[in-house]
Every structure is written in structure tokens, then in C-alpha cells.
Subunit: 208 residues, 2 copies
DNA sequence: AGAGTATCTTAACAATGATTAAAATTTTCT
DNA sequence: AGAAAATTTTAATCATTGTTAAGATACTCT
């Protein structure tokens, strides 16, 4: 993974270098997992895309289970950050939701991607599983709370918040399954269609 | 799988019996695949849930690849049938979409389930992959055509049909990921929330 | 240039799991 | 009950892959 150093910067901060390389590993691994599944991707598959041997990966992660775990944590962080930033900018709850969706899509289809789809949580060990489930739940609950706030301020209309959250998260989380190569035009098209469509489903009827 | 015969009926039509048992196998396999992924589920896992040994599965399918393929075909059929039936009953395009969503959700959460999520198409062999992709595309195209028809008859408002289809299909197809045990109440809740939410996103603004 | 650390490779092990053939068992029908 | 077919099991093979240890190479700084 030596070439990365050149791409990545020129002030030789060792720790920073290490973090960046590891982050690249997580992205590549996420791409593999999204395509072939956790057990379907061998460490060799991941390593080859980095011009490494499988054994080299053990310099960055303890084992394969920790690699998925790290990918899932990274995915959770990306989503959480999108939500936090959208909320920090204020406005009506609906406006916050709209910004969140855009930010999250931007992140997944942009430099932060590819992001792992958390589709094989059952394959994780008990501790990792509990932690990932917890992060996932926290995200969902935060989004639910935002919806509830929107019902309060009148900007959102929804009945079953849990289910509505499920529906919206499903749509968003599935994107990395079919968005692969960097493709700004496609990314823009996703955002331009997904966000208004989902927002429309949350907006109260005009004649109310 | 001997017990099944008793559950399943009493007129001893051999071919029918075989088909029913095979169908049960496909459902059980689908459940496993949805939980642990294709490579993550061993044939032993599937066999154990049927009180069989892994070798017995080879009496019903040629090999593991064909098992997934069959699961995916079955999933495609379930969706296709829902769409066909909804269309056969006529009405506005929006009404047809609404019925389709309900039928598909009913099927996945009812007796036809569990249905496999087609999330590991890349793991299939070339011929199987092409066929499954073809079925998937046909379904999407048919849905798109329905949306287009709705734009024509004024019942639907959408800009990017391909993307809108993606969004809706993602929401629907992800359901089997978290709906596991038979649970009529949860199934009803999904349908009661998902269908109006998605339909709302397609309905033209009232003040148009 | 050369020491010292970070990074990576080679080579091996152990375990898992798909697959097959032959044998055993169960089921159905007469 | 008993024959014939359908269904399932046992046992063995084969390839793949996660993992580890020890050694080699590359990078950074003085």
C-alpha cells in the first residue's frame, strides 16, 4: 500500500498515514462486502484490490471479524454525522430531515464511500453485534425523535414513526448496493429524486 | 423431511409432494440467506432447520449455487405475481401501484415468505446471474411502465422514473431483512405505514 | 549513508464446508 | 406383508480460507 502515501499527502505524520491507509482498507473492504457478502469475500479478495497479500491486512486489523466490525462502525459514523450536521443547522424538523437525507446520500456517493451495508450483523461476534446494533438503534431513534419533533412543529405528518423510519432508512441504506464506481452524475440523480420523494411522503397535506 | 408429508396433505401425489417439500426448502434457505448471507450459511445450517443432513439437500437441488438461484427465482416470481394481479384488476395507475405494494408486502410477510433478498447476485454463476438480472430488470421495467402510465392518466407525479422505481423497490425488498417470524400484527403495521407513505410520494399535489 | 521503525511477504497450519458415491431407511402401492 | 421407488444417511474427498510466525523490504530521520 506504499503508493497511497504519495497520493495522500506530504507531511509525514506517521499516525495520520496509518489512519488514512486503514480507512482506505475499510472502504475497499466495504465495497467487497457489499458485492459478495461477508463470508463471500476472502481476505485475498480485499488484499488484491490494494495490491497487497492477505497477510498484510493483519497489520491493520486483528482479524476478519474486526474488519467487518470496523466497516460497520464506519458506516454508522457516516450516517450519524450526516444527521448531526443536518440537525445542527436548525430550521423546521422537515427541513432538517431533508438536509440529512441529502448529506447522507452525498457522503455515501462521494469521498466517504463506499460505505458498508450493515446486512450481516448476525455474522458478528456477540460483543461487536451488540455494539453495532446499539449504534444502529441510536441512529433510528434519533431520526424518530426528529420526526416526532416535526409532528410537534407541524412540518411533518406521520403515524407510525418506527415504521416510517424503517421505510426511509431502507431506501437510503440500499443505495451502496447498486452505486459502485464514483459517478457524480448518477449521485446527483439519486439525490435529486430520492430526497423530494421521501420528503413528499412526510409532508402534511396542503389542504390541512 | 418426512413429517412434512403429514402436514402437507393426504392425497399422495408424488410430484406435488416433491414440489411442496422443495418449496419449503427454498423458504428455509431464503431465511438463512437473509440472516447470514449466501456464503455465510452452510448447507448444514439449512439442513438442520429441516431436520435433515446436508447431503439430503442434493436430492432437491443440484448444488448450492442452484439453491440460491432457485431462491432468487422464487423471490422474483412472488414480486411478479403481485404486480400482475394488481394490474389485472385495473383502475388508475396509482391505484394499481397501491394494490401492488400491498400484495407484495402481504406475500412476503405471509405464507409465501420468507422470500430471499437478491443481495448476492454477484455470487451466482454467469448463466444464473444473467437470468436473475433479467428477471429483476423486467420487474423494474414493468413497474416503470406503470408509473409512466400514471403520468399519462394524471394519477401519478414523478420525474425520474428509473430512480423512483429504485427508491420504492429498495424499501419493499429490504423488508425480509428484519421481518422474520410469522407475525400478523407486525405485517399489518408494515403494510399500513409503507403503502400510504410510498403512495403519497407518487401522488400529484392537490393544488395542481 | 545508515540506524531504526513501519510495513509487507513467504510459507505453513488447521478448520470448515461443498460435494459425491454407496448404503440404509422410509414410504407407497398391490 | 412385500416389492419397488423415493428419500435420507454415512463416510470420505477435496479445495478454500482464516490465521500465525518469522523473515524481508521500504521508509523516515539524523
Amino acid at each position: 500500500m506504499a503508493e497511497v502515501a504519495a497520493e495522500v499527502g506530504r507531511h509525514f505524520d506517521r499516525e495520520e498515514q496509518h489512519r488514512l491507509k486503514r480507512d482506505l482498507l475499510l472502504k475497499v473492504a466495504a465495497a467487497c462486502f457489499n458485492e459478495k457478502g461477508y463470508s463471500g469475500t476472502s481476505l485475498k479478495d480485499v488484499a488484491e484490490r490494494l495490491n497487497l497479500t492477505n497477510a498484510a491486512l493483519y497489520y491493520y486489523v486483528k482479524n476478519k471479524a474486526e474488519l467487518v466490525y470496523a466497516c460497520y462502525c464506519r458506516a454508522a459514523d457516516v450516517g450519524w454525522r450526516a444527521l448531526s450536521e443536518a440537525q445542527a443547522e436548525g430550521g423546521s424538523a422537515l427541513a432538517q430531515v431533508e438536509r440529512y437525507l441529502g448529506y447522507h446520500i452525498d457522503a455515501m456517493t462521494g469521498d466517504a464511500g463506499p460505505v458498508a451495508i450493515m446486512s450481516e450483523i448476525p455474522s458478528l461476534g456477540d460483543a461487536h453485534k451488540a455494539d453495532v446494533l446499539d449504534r444502529s438503534r441510536r441512529h433510528s431513534r434519533a431520526f424518530e425523535a426528529l420526526l416526532e419533533q416535526g409532528i410537534g412543529d407541524g412540518s411533518i405528518d406521520a403515524t407510525d414513526l418506527r415504521m416510517t423510519t424503517n421505510a426511509i432508512m431502507s431506501t437510503i441504506n440500499w443505495i451502496p448496493k447498486w452505486f459502485h464506481a464514483p459517478n457524480p452524475e448518477l449521485a446527483a440523480a439519486i439525490k435529486a429524486t430520492y430526497v423530494p420523494f421521501l420528503i413528499k411522503g412526510l409532508t402534511p397535506a396542503a389542504d390541512a
